[in-house]
Symmetry: none
């Protein structure tokens, strides 16, 4: 066949299930001059979904029409700088949708799974971690044990939601709406939780914990140090991106492994942490940094620094995005662990070819490209609802808006 | 077809031309269970050619037999650590031969040129630099002008060989054999050369210079500073790998762009230079660091640090190695310039599919894989001569053995 | 007599015993124009033995023929730089064989043991450490006690092999062959082992432990800190050479003494550790860094930095190499401890003049040179088997190739 | 023969010539139980000659009697720490006398020149520099040219003595006795001198200059920078040992090569300069740092840092000390240049076996040990005069005591 060119680019939005504000997925489809030859990429940004669609359809599409889809390195850079102001959420998500679709396409052109293009597998599967929650230590313990029985080896334990969301934090007079929580109480409860878990479950499972940036800096340092005896696999987002310099202080105080990055949107955020070897796991949200092209590079840079990957894998990543995660996981020597939210039956029907989990590991399939498709008709039946999220309206007990 | 497995691995040695000690080329051929499906990689180490062959044939071959050739990341690491002591010349060259061959194979399996697997082209061709020599400034000038007339934009200017090799440096009583040169005289002559070139040719051509590590550290600093007004494109190997800490002093004293790395054999040599942003171009010898897999990663790490690539491309790299250089050049965003030695007619006949130079640029061809083959029958007609090189037996005027 | 010149150089390979892949010894013999006057040096690189032989016989030999064997400093540098790419395994081992042989020769010419040439003894014997292994803490304890009863004062305690090799680490689907081990489990078991040993044996013996680079960086830091209360004499190879920058973090967190270096192959690997005073013991493999000439210099440089020596002394060093270790040990003011593998009866017969161990100490003999010979006829009866090692094909539970 | 033991140790003092305060030489003789077997070492400290004799005869001798002279490393350390307060002038000179004598002895026992024990020659001869003085630039030029005609390639140019000693610096009322000089005038005159020399003689000779620590720090920086265009081989003692931190400022400002160290008496003085790569040549006075044992180590440490040696070699070093310098010079890979004062006919008669200068190089002889003897009867005819030096009573124009 002739060299295919790009014939169309568009964003597909869907909210599988009840049409949840928290699950507005965006997939970009890049179609070529070759009938039936297209690629898919994840551009999901649940909180600002329609802005991403606008960037894809109005700004990236015209730059891509008629171009050679195989020149990914060239197109990525071309799209990246085209708005002059570059990177950041919205634009990175849009770019990611295109970029992953181009890798998917390249795999299909090669007749090879994307992990082959990235160097081939260097492990059989990607170890995953699941999320065990509960109101009290005993309930968390029960949920941890349930996952252990399923063969999982890495489990994130949380109590009362991130930072005690929904907790009965006392509210001041005239309190505004929002999800109030008490950072101090949260910090204390976490230590109590892990005291319980290590005492009852022992050390033969890897435990993780996500602070979700809900502490002031010195409290974050204190918590990281307090959790040192509990031998966490990692402590996640212990500081907000606005206060990354405090990681140095944590490093001086303890050996608790640190994971950071799901909110990062450009390299100036991770550079000092990498160059100072101040974290142990990079866990960017791949579609928030622009797709597989920058993620693959970031994995390589982290390998240089002795830092492992733990890409963000929450429920509001589309299955296409999860597939991309897993392809990168199995081909990166410095892969650490993969967050795993699981797919509903509807999602698996809507996105044929979802990566599968067996025992402790997730596995990509071996079809060309990312190995995943989208049933557009089915997707269209679940349109995204309009509106803004509630949980990102968070306040501390005195009514101060806080990091969610 | 079934997934191919590795059926054989062997080193092909040849010395196209008169059988020169300085041109003992090594190409590794990885054959698969699929008839006619094989990959080629460059393992050339002219100075210790037969030791590389032993590593390939006796140690890497048994580790590779029956394995899946597509798991490059896995196989690279497996071979890399198998000898326990890792990296270094000889073993890295052997590993490179296998690694490039696996990339060549993967390209053939995909039906795509290797540059496509690396992300696709982000430029049309790779700007090259050529080497202009001469005994006096006027002769160098004439040779520079000759290259300019051929359309070249980057030219490395040397006078009297590296460090004035073959010069009439005074010798002490009882002088041992070897190529005597005088570092001080060399340093002074270089400034004189570039005074002449800039005065006669002007600034509309990029000039480079290679010190070939032939100065003591403070003299290297002094020369880099003295050449600051001559606006070199870069100054190459101004210090030996044994004294890389002195790059910091050069950085404090001047803005002459610095290229380094052809002698590096593992990451601990380039790490401090990259992390300190102490050089501007990385120019490792790709087969000396273990092939495309580490070179691709090194290019990515350099992109993080704002450093460009200028891979080593002398006459004693096989055409297969030159092809690998060019595939990487056209797909690396932070490519700088490519050293170019050119191919003899015999080399082009022996290695069908050599990359071509047109005007200022080198171009890979678009055939699957590295796009280059070897005529084994022809290669066998030019066996490698035995013996050791003379130019690497270098001494300073008082008879001290020096870096060659 | 006239000044002797070098008349021949060759590698002698032997595998005393059953012809083990793990015991392919290489000794270099440098013969002179003076009948019966020759020197011996260790060039052993078990994993790539035949490549070392090629370098010795084909490349170093022609450079040495007819030269003055007493100019060691000159010849070392001349051989070192002759391949242009220098250092690294294979070439350093070959160079070491020649270098030690030249020191052995110089001792014979002087009629003095090599330790006399190095400045003479500054202690009576070299304290050694032995290796006590076991599947459970009680078994390790029993083996430690056995060595204590033999008078030893330094004992390295390991449980389940390095990193738990051979353990029943769970394997993923489709697991490739290799020695699977679980780094996390290993790290936890080490602390348990030393809890037991210190509780049962007390503090009157110096305990050591070798991590064998089998942990990711932050886990290495955590282990070093966890072992601080156990007062190790040193913790060995807690990080791989690829991640030496993390030693700084260990230093910030604890006072566990650190030994490093058996895998180092050139100065850029140890420089930052020495200059930062980040380790306490240098334990290079002398034949892997090029012989006594660089080792003597490295010992001196370490003395400057307040760092002690603990040269690598495993079973796959030839008795000639062990002799060289001990000569250096007794004449270096900053000697720390010597790893000791012991010699079989066959080895003692094949290499007359092996250094001896009495009580806690090893002693060189007082014959001229290194004081050790080789029975070439006997050696020839035990040819080296071909093949590659299995234990260096190591994987973590998910199938990732790991540092062996 | 049996192992010899030390039978006697004594200091020999002599002032060959007119009995000059500036030439009170001290040689230590270590005699052994073997008749006729003895060693000689230089302990010269002209300014405190008799104190050195007291240390040798009253304190070191009893520690040495009956000991094995071959255990140099042991004895050096034993003597070094015996006074509890260690190092420093007087004690280091005495220790040096013993230490060099032990190396001389070891060479005689081995039947080898000392350079053989140090690793053998790595060059044919040691390039020397001579001292050209004069009242005006033209006179200095004439003296420089005279040396050039003798074949010398390195010449130190001074005008009006160190710091303009003997100059007509204006003196204040009531001026005390002493050698007045004007640092500012000196600094300006030096630039004028090198303007003249480079203009008249050109660049084909290496010029050196000695500031003799006679400038305040910022003036030293200014001078080093002002001399950058004159391309000195090195600028010597530009700062006093009391102000070594200012070397960093010089390094930030210019590339003038720096030599330092003749006044250093222990490692804490040179450590920061070496570790910061702040100087280019170490030029300690070997007998002031304790002899060949520490000098050999210091040379090795400097090799690590890329720094060359230029051992102090003034007229008030005994020929035995000069011989030791040259033995070390020809066997140190990182030798730079050797200061050379030359010997009178009387000195050559009194010390048979002085090293010789031919063309640009000094050569040790090839006799066992240091190859030099002392005619004690002749030496006794030239007893050392008592008294204190005049030139070390130096003042600046306002009468302030200054560094001499």
């Amino acid at each position: 066949m002739d060299q295919p060119t790009i014939r169309d680019v568009r964003a597909i939005l869907t909210s599988p299930g009840e049409g949840s504000l928290q699950k507005r997925l965006i997939v970009v489809k890049v179609e070529t001059s070759e009938p039936g030859l297209y690629g898919l990429g994840c551009a999901t940004f649940t909180q600002r979904h329609s802005a991403v669609r606008v960037v894809v359809d109005e700004f990236l599409r015209p730059l891509l029409m008629g171009r050679d889809p195989q020149r990914i390195e060239d197109l990525w850079q071309t799209l990246h700088v085209n708005a002059y102001w570059r990177s950041g959420p919205v634009m990175n998500n849009a770019l990611s949708g295109v970029d992953m679709a181009l890798w998917d396409l390249k795999g299909k052109l090669a007749g090879l799974p994307v992990y082959q293009l990235l160097g081939g597998k260097c492990r059989e599967g990607a170890a995953v971690y699941r999320h065990a929650d509960g109101a009290e230590p005993e309930e968390v313990e029960a949920n941890v044990r349930r996952f252990m029985e399923q063969g999982l080896r890495y489990i994130r334990a949380q109590m009362g939601g991130y930072g005690g969301r929904g907790s009965d934090a006392p509210r001041p007079e005239g309190a505004l709406p929002g999800a109030y929580f008490d950072p101090e109480r949260h910090a204390r409860s976490v230590v109590r939780l892990f005291d319980h878990l290590r005492a009852t479950i022992g050390e033969d499972v890897e435990l993780l914990h996500d602070v979700h940036e809900r502490l002031v800096p010195i409290e974050a340092v204190r918590l990281a140090k307090a959790l040192e005896p509990h031998r966490l696999f990692f402590l996640e987002d212990v500081l907000p991106p606005e206060q990354i310099e405090w990681f140095r202080l944590i490093r001086q105080q303890c050996t608790t492994p640190l994971a950071m990055g799901e909110l990062f949107v450009n390299a100036n955020e991770w550079k000092p942490l990498l160059e100072g070897r101040l974290i142990d796991f990079i866990r960017c949200h791949i579609s928030a940094i622009g797709g597989l092209t920058p993620a693959r590079k970031l994995a390589t840079v982290c390998e240089h620094f002795g830092i492992r990957t733990a890409w963000h894998g929450p429920g509001d990543v589309s299955p296409v995005g999860h597939a991309a995660n897993v392809h990168l996981d199995v081909s990166s020597l410095n892969f650490g662990v993969q967050e795993w939210a699981g797919f509903s039956e509807l999602e698996q029907e809507m996105f044929p070819g979802c990566p599968e989990i067996r025992g402790a590991y997730a596995y990509p399939n071996d079809r060309p490209g990312l190995g995943i498709d989208v049933d557009e008709k089915l997707a269209a039946k679940y349109p995204c609802p309009e509106g803004v999220l509630d949980w990102t309206q968070t306040r501390t007990p005195d009514g101060t808006p806080a990091y969610p």
